[in-house]
């Protein structure tokens, strides 16, 4: 990780090609350096963070005053940093009964801040939680005493989690966890605090900025989807081809324990929706044997979406995995104990994240914990099904190869789609897909769950969500349309994104039939589309052209009365 001085040098670089995001930073201590660290780290994440920094200790004024500079600036993200030191100062001045209710009082204040923001703008809020200060007035007995500062502080951090769980667009940046990782002596330097009113040490700034950018990245669609793992000395100890099934190290003894715990971690990731893939230099049947037969293996073949074991170059194999899954290289992480393989992949596919695993497997997990590779801005129960969906997709690909014509193949799939407007049941998945879709996304406007629920109620829009199932399995919700009533004649396609898993099934045609049907039923003469280019959506550049739209002023127009329904092989459920 770059130190603060290096981040500051980033500030002089050219930000003009980067995606601009307007950020407001509100703190109750000095935040100038934090602002520098955020902008400098943002550069390395590919963002031009345009940061409005409120004057010192102005959180309440900026938020409660409807005419404040904050609202004039109109940020997309608001970072609120209330420090433990200021909380402690308030505690110190309070009477005993107020001390015993400090957490509740503070949470009420936070809630009123968020409510005030929401009544004015729809910015996302990132709230820094509270790194611990133990004043040791009660010693260990603080844990039994509601009046102690430590008791209230921990209660507040916990209740903030509950508050975040129930509050849309409110995200906790867990700087308490950062302090646990590096220690308070590292996180806080008293002389800097006394002289400059800064509660973060210079060395802690890059860590806090990174934690913040991880959240911003996830909110704006930058996160990991796939973990690719080597086998020998990464998944288990030893070399399966040389040592044999009985002698590889895994289980509860010695170094085997490290690999077992590592596998449990990967299993948790898989259940959270991260796709696991294997990339190993091995004979395939030999490589699969432990997954099938070893009693101590935590991961089994059905946990793995793509299993590649051969003697080819690993960069080639990772490219194959990428083509199979159809996700970006920058959403992939590759773990391998061998520095040579790591370097080849770094060299040939620089977008893949390749952590520098420690030499000792006992340290793998602790090291990986510190990297926070798998930040997310959403989670739904469907995520656990993702691996299965990719596995069935691969079966489909195999079957397709056996069919003569494409239409015969599509017919044979018996595809069914459920078409519904947004509602409270599909809103979480719609929002999640809005954040995840990069390639098949015409305008790449991101919507959160709260936005989606608001759109469901809006009278100026029609909303559509599509699922797709076939004889191999259910893909779940895979496509989203938002149609905006531009005027009495024209419906504007504000949003069209689709999961790349269902490409080449005629889904685009099915969706367009649905759009035109809505336009026709409601008396609109034209459907208007727009393509906004990003670094990732090249694949849909000619989307509207291919569907028969006519170009007009950088937009695409379709006259509904000229439209004849396209031939499709998907039935509506």
């Amino acid at each position: 990780m770059k130190d603060f001085s290096a981040l500051k040098k980033n500030l002089k670089r050219d930000f003009s090609q980067l995606k601009a995001i307007k950020i407001a930073l509100l703190g109750d201590t000095a935040t100038q350096f934090l602002q520098n660290a955020l902008r400098g780290t943002g550069y390395d994440y590919g963002y031009d963070l345009q940061i409005f920094e409120a004057d010192f200790n102005q959180i309440e004024r900026q938020i409660f005053d409807p005419a404040s500079e904050l609202y004039e600036f109109a940020p997309e993200v608001i970072i609120i940093f209330q420090s433990t030191h200021k909380l402690l100062a308030r505690y110190d001045k309070s009477a005993a009964d107020a001390q015993a209710t400090l957490a509740g009082t503070q949470l009420q204040l936070i809630d009123s801040l968020c409510t005030a923001i929401r009544s004015k703008i729809s910015a996302k809020i990132i709230y820094y939680n509270y790194p611990e200060i133990n004043d040791n007035v009660f010693g260990n007995y603080a844990n039994k005493t509601a009046q102690s500062f430590l008791f209230q502080l921990r209660k507040l951090n916990f209740e903030l989690m509950q508050y975040a769980a129930n509050t849309a667009n409110f995200y906790i940046c867990d700087i308490s966890s950062v302090q646990n990782q590096v220690g308070k002596l590292f996180m806080f330097q008293p002389s800097v605090y006394v002289n400059a009113e800064m509660v973060l040490s210079i060395d802690a700034l890059p860590l806090v900025a990174t934690a913040t950018l991880d959240i911003i990245g996830a909110l704006y669609g930058k996160f990991k989807k796939c973990l690719i793992i080597d086998l020998d000395n990464t998944m288990w100890g030893g070399i399966i081809g040389d040592d044999g099934l009985e002698n590889i190290q895994i289980g509860s003894l010695g170094i085997g324990k490290a690999f077992t715990e590592f596998q449990y971690w990967m299993k948790k990731l898989k259940n959270r929706g991260i796709i696991l893939a294997i990339c190993s230099k091995n004979t395939e049947s030999v490589a699969k044997e432990p997954f099938e037969k070893h009693p101590d293996m935590v991961l089994h073949l059905d946990d793995i979406a793509v299993f590649v074991a051969n003697w080819k170059n690993k960069a080639e194999n990772i490219k194959y995995i990428q083509r199979t899954l159809n996700i970006g290289f920058d959403s992939m992480v590759f773990l391998d104990d061998n520095p040579f393989e790591r370097n080849i992949v770094r060299e040939l596919i620089p977008d893949v994240t390749v952590p520098e695993l420690p030499a000792d497997p006992a340290e793998y997990l602790e090291y990986l914990y510190t990297l926070n590779l798998f930040e997310t801005a959403s989670y739904s129960e469907q995520d656990a099904e993702r691996t299965k969906q990719y596995q069935t997709e691969i079966k489909r690909t195999v079957e397709q190869a056996s069919h003569g014509s494409e239409n015969d193949f599509l017919k044979s799939l018996n595809m069914l789609s459920l078409v519904e407007p947004f509602n409270k049941f599909n809103a979480p998945r719609v929002a999640q897909l809005s954040q995840r879709s990069n390639q098949f996304n015409l305008r790449t406007v991101r919507y959160t769950e709260a936005d989606i629920e608001a759109l469901a109620q809006s009278k100026n829009n029609y909303t559509l969500s599509f699922t797709l199932e076939d004889k191999f399995g259910d893909n779940g919700l895979i496509c989203v349309i938002i149609l905006h009533k531009e005027n009495n004649e024209t419906l504007f396609i504000d949003t069209w994104f689709m999961s790349c898993r269902v490409l080449k099934r005629g889904m685009e045609d099915f969706v367009l039939n649905s759009i035109v049907a809505i336009a026709g039923q409601n008396g609109f003469k034209y459907v208007k589309g727009e393509y906004i280019a990003t670094a990732k959506n090249e694949m849909v550049r000619d989307h509207y052209l291919n569907l028969g739209f006519k170009p007009q002023d950088n937009l695409w127009i379709l006259a509904t009365e000229d439209y004849t329904d396209k031939e499709i092989f998907i039935k509506e459920r």
Partner: protein
Amino acid sequence: MDKSEALQKVNAIFIDVLDDEDLVLDYTTSADDVEDWDSLNHIQLVVAVEKAFKIRFTSQEIQSWNNVGEMLDCILSKGA
């Protein structure tokens, strides 16, 4: 380490932190003489000096120096 060696080392730190390759310090240089040496950057400079010399200044010391020479005396008094 003698004072002129310490000056060289501190000069290099200033060049890095203030990102100014042409910066030349002497014992009499004060914050007024260096464009970017404001109170905020002072903190970053002090922390960088602490790290390079493996010392810690007290909070009072940080605000007590009138020029680079006094800072160097303080560094050397800590046995660096």
